[in-house]
Symmetry: C2
């Protein structure tokens, strides 16, 4: 039997990416807060992604228990993305001036984007398997003048994005090259997540074309 | 004065990319055939991109001459993309079996995508300047079974695309990583082209944020 897939993220960009590769899923976001204890960017995004997925899974489990059942045949996917420069994590800018400061640091050099992914798989017996990893992509940003940075910030595109830019938007004009998964920079390492779903036997029959390990396509 | 920008390509993907970075343009495609004499992929795409742009520019010039004028304040952009594996150029597949053959060769290894770009700039005096270059991106495709390849081909996505895949579509599930400009694989090296427009003073004031060399933003 196929699993139902739940994306534990409110990000419209993550939704688009998962849809793009043909995965059918529902979205459910927990109101519970995430706090991390890790210290490196890779560990932090892994931890946050796992927490997001676990919060949603535990809420679903509680609901099933109330009905006297078990949470089964369900996959929950969590993700978290950060931009890292000289060891500093750049989150979403607080305001336009903060966005100008971040872009001033990012321009003319390379930085890393890490997305953590967590895939929780509850099988037909309610047994849980967990995959949790971080994917890094190196991004090379062209040199920008202060005027160019301010003109970009005025487009408002940076304000809701980690690192104050959207590679999938107007900022594409300033990205010289990347090394790694492009979609990881957008917010989800789709090929890695797709592979994980495949390994769990949870990938969609009509997707990009896949043969799951323990079910017929 | 700002230049008007003409994209000499019928590709909806190129249109989207140029729009994405805030460039305003019109589309005009020539019916004239392009034939190349170059032998390397980089030289071929450069030559084809230049020919596409020159065909459109010469048609526009002829129209202006008929009106007793000169073609001025106009930029024409041409582009051409190929997928290259072991020195072979993979164009668009002839049919589904051809797509299966191409994907069978591409899976489990790296290949190159080259896009040639040509930017012809006619200034206020009708003087022409030309920029013409090719950008290469290395693409790493995950291993695929024949079943996976056939399931992907059944989605029809490969049929109108060089190399039989769309990185911006379902095939994203199979791209492990890239080295270079992602948008170059989609069909236009937007950051390089944007930079060229900037250098020509032809970039849009409301674009991704740019300061053109010879005009106020």
């Amino acid at each position: 039997m196929g699993r139902r897939i739940i994306l534990a993220s409110a990000s419209p960009r993550r939704r688009e990416l998962l849809s793009q590769v043909g995965v059918e899923f529902a979205v459910r976001v927990s109101e519970q807060e995430e706090r991390y204890e890790s210290s490196t960017p890779e560990e932090i995004v892994k931890e946050l992604a796992l927490m997001k997925a676990e919060h949603v899974a535990s809420e679903l489990e509680a609901e099933e228990r109330q009905k006297g059942g078990l949470l089964r045949d369900t996959v929950v996917i969590g993700a978290d993305t950060v931009v890292v420069l000289d060891g500093d994590i750049l989150g979403k800018p607080a305001d336009e001036e903060d966005a100008v400061r971040m872009l001033t640091r990012l321009q003319g050099r390379a930085h890393w984007v890490y997305t953590g992914a967590a895939v929780l798989d509850m099988d037909g017996e309610g047994q849980r398997k967990t995959a949790n990893y971080a994917v890094g992509t190196k991004v090379f940003v062209h040199g920008m003048t202060e005027e160019e940075i301010r003109a970009y910030v005025r487009t408002k595109e940076p304000l809701d994005k980690a690192g104050a830019y959207g590679i999938q938007g107007r900022f594409a004009a300033w990205i010289d090259r990347i090394e790694g998964d492009y979609y990881n920079v957008v917010g989800l390492p789709v090929s890695a997540v797709y592979r994980t779903l495949q390994e769990l036997g949870a990938c969609p029959a009509g997707g990009a074309g896949c043969s799951c390990k323990d079910e017929a396509v």
